[in-house]
């Protein structure tokens, strides 16, 4: 489902690469934790996989068609994200000017899912992330945990094959963090998607199928 080969990323103007010659793959349905110290390049790697930043060399094959995102242009990368990848962020990033339901609908709109399906899918998914009836509410009235549930619903609503999560519980108190993690993993497995979860948390990592640790010398 995700296959990274010989990946090197160097920031412009910087002599030392962030990482070089990385290689790994994630099978369909596999949930992998990405651990590592701060500043080691975990987010950069995630950004490269999502096509938000371009790797200097190597290949990243994503999705059922195994498209190499490194070789796609910007518009194609955006289209690939819209159809195949779901995101969960540490900072939630729920759009404050859209309702909960509208926030969840965004990937459906961008992924070109038929309009007739939207309402039912959104309602069902909100139920499954524990927010039944939250659709018309505004994000400003929600707690951090609720916001992240919205974000999880949004990450899954268009049935992506790969979920990328960047410290999804980093902004939450420990109790809520546990709930959210369980929810995220359950829903990902339920959808049969693969996931790569960047985390500092041992607890999170242990709940995944596999742990990759990024160090300045490469993946371990």
């Amino acid at each position: 489902m995700l296959s990274v080969a010989n990946l090197t990323k160097r920031h412009p103007g910087s002599a030392r690469p962030v990482f070089s010659a990385l290689g790994f793959s994630i099978a369909a349905g596999e949930i992998v934790a990405l651990a590592g110290e701060s500043g080691v390049g975990k987010s950069t790697l995630l950004n490269c996989i999502a096509g938000l930043e371009l790797a200097n060399t190597g290949a990243i094959l994503v999705g059922p068609q195994a498209q190499d995102i490194v070789r796609l242009d910007e518009a194609a990368r955006a289209a690939l994200r819209a159809t195949t990848i779901g995101f969960v962020f540490q900072a939630f990033h729920v759009l404050p000017t859209l309702t909960v339901a509208q926030n969840v609908a965004v990937p459906l709109l961008l992924g070109g899912v038929a309009a007739g399906e939207h309402a039912a899918r959104i309602e069902a998914l909100l139920g499954r992330v524990g927010l039944p009836g939250f659709g018309p509410r505004w994000p400003g009235t929600l707690s951090g945990g609720e916001l992240q549930r919205v974000a999880i619903a949004r990450a899954l609503v268009h049935r992506p094959s790969l979920i990328l999560a960047d410290e999804p519980t980093g902004n939450l108190d420990p109790r809520t963090a546990d709930e959210i993690l369980v929810l995220l993993l359950e829903r990902v497995r339920e959808e049969g998607a693969s996931a790569l979860i960047v985390t500092h948390s041992q607890h999170v990592a242990q709940n995944c199928d596999r742990i990759l640790t990024l160090t300045p010398d490469g993946l371990q």
Partner: protein, 843 residues
Amino acid sequence: MSAPRWQLSWWLIRAQFQTRRTATALSMLAIALGVALGYAIHLINDAALADFSQAMKSVQGEPDALVAPQDSAGRVPLALINQLARDEAVALVVPVIETRVRIGELTVRLIGLDVFSAGLLMPDLLPRQGESIKGGGLFEDGMYASPALLARLQTKIGAGVTAMRGDARWSTHIAGDLPAARPDDLLLVADIARVQAHFGPADAVSEGRIRLAPGTKLTAWLNTWAGKLPPGITLRAAADNQARLSNISRAYRVNLNVLALVALLTGGFLVFATQLTAVAQRSTQFALLGVLGLSPRMRLMQVLFEGLAIGVPGAVIGLALGWAMAAAFTRLLGGDLGGGFFSGGTPAIVPELLPALGFFALGCAASLAGALYPAWLNRVQPLAQALKTGFAQRPPSGRDDALRPRAGKAIALALVAGAALALTRLPALFDLPLAGYGAIALVLVLGIAVAPLVTQMAFGAFARRELPAAQRIAVQNVMQAPLMAQVAASGLIVSFALTVSMVTMVASFRVALDQWLDVVLPAPYYVRSKGVPLPPQLLAALERPDAPFARVERMAAGALNLDPRRPTVAVLVRELDPANPGARLPFTGEILAAPAGAIPVWISEPMQELYRLKPGQTLRLPLLGREVEVFVGGVWRDYARQFGAVVIGATDYRALGGKFEATELALWPHQGGEAAARDWLAREASRYGIEMAEAGEIRALSLDIFDKSFAVTYALEAAAMLIGLFGLAVTLAASVWLRARELATLSALGFNRAMLTRAVMLEGALIAAIGLAVGLACGIAVGAILTHVVNPQAFHWRMELQIPWLQVLPGAALTLAAGIIASRFAALQATRLPAAQVLASAQ
């Protein structure tokens, strides 16, 4: 774009409008204002022009061609009319004798018609015999009056009437009316032969209106007659009349429209400021959408859509507003925008689809143009970075403005300045000062481009000094946020520059007009009749020894058609000393003595420029039905006749065989006899229905008309200034908002709200000061271009540049104060949020 994406687009637009109501409404209003002003000006002028040309059409019909004398004192011989009538390419020649006659105190147009031909071309003028009238209709003695004239004369069909012109008089009765005459027209119609028998011209008519046989090519036909016409007669396409009519007010209209365009431009600026801040504020949101799969093209398009979402309603409101303004204006003040070209009557405002669409498109284009750069910025935002740290002012391209050598920038600016200077040297295009307008645009561009340099230089020095914390923050912000500062300043630069330039131009003109009036009104009293010669009885009375005047100078005015597509040139026959014409005319240069035997004339500045003449040259004028060779003895300044005037001495005119029938008098009373002279004149004037005025009254009236004619431009300036201030407030608010986190951090570090507010206000004051300083410099430059390039090219008015510091500096102070108030408003908005919330929400 698919329907779901429209849905998303719409959600974002709606959200944007809901969260930024004030800025959006202001931008919309600015666009609406620009569109409304432009559209209103267009509608009013169009209506006035249509009304004017309808009036002309009603009286003149719609011929294909006209045969007319070039000199208003000339005539078209009957032989030529008959020759033209027999031309097989001609379907119809309608001869007309047109003159002005005095009826009691009223001056009325009298049209002599040949019903046989006129019925086909000018049905509006066909007379109807009164039912009470017995007799042979139009061919018998009698006149036909328009309903308006009957009402004005308070007379009725069957009543006696006496028409006078100079020595000639015709006593007859009103035999009927003109049922199809327009409601405002004061007209008399009679049989052409009757008019000729009483008022002339013998063996000739005033004009022939020609309709060509089907299939005849107008231009080719005109060419066949080119060499065969007697001297002093033109045969021209009637469409030229339309062109001439529109030419009369064209420069004035274009000028007003350029001003309206400026209002629109400032509106575009406001959209720019709004959309730029909108993009900056939502950079995280857009980054998120990008991550979720919104394509880069859509990130660009979304901002453009939002611009359009401001522009479309703005333009629609503007059209409605413009229409309402035009309707209200014409109802209250008539069709004259102050140019004095159209007067009387209330023209109907008839909106047509195409111009409305044009102005709608202009409004949309302005908002789109304003959104273009923000849209591009949004398109190139680095997603991952924007998601984390927010808006990047400088796009992440390899090119870095800061690294570009200053010398390169300076060279570019120097090139723009050079181009602007070069444009001011170019002549008018299509009789319009297009290059001048181009130069003005370049000056404004230059001002905007130079602002960051000035900022860095001025505040660089400032920043190196020891300053209290709040001030230091403000100075650093201005220096470090060049983009936002530039946006805020450029709105002010443009609007202040335009205001200064207009004030400068108007002040220069007013001073020049004042001085000019001193020279052209040497006598204490003036008498004038409208188009008819002054009554011979009055002239005789003035020559009697008991007349209370020491000196009387007579003048007659006529018109020459030198170019069929241009309005006529005034011919002023004056009793002046040929050896010293400078005593009566404000010459701009040397006065040349005519060689022996040559007839000297003195031409006005507009005539010199329109017909490219030089003092000292000889000129062939189509005077009195022939070509007369005259010597150009000098050029005099004339602010009264935009299309040129030529002065010839009365003695010379008589020697040429001209009939000197005075229409105007300048009168000098005896020393100490002013009161008696005034009474005497007032009595005579009311007896003959002519106008008398003291020099002071004429002067006051002229200045009053002048002020009225610039009233509209003041309104436009006020609008521009207001929009500029809006822009400042919006941009400042946005730039403060962008730094909310920084301000919150400062506040967490111990700055209180008052200190923060003060810092933001100082920042606003600094930006406004720079904007005003650069704007002032640009304004003076633009004022100079208006005075020395645009005015001479558009109106052929030349004058000295006067900078009215007493108006400009208080204006600048006022704007600075307004700017500081606007930034206080921005600061209050930004510091209203509790620091903790800002810090938390910003991650």
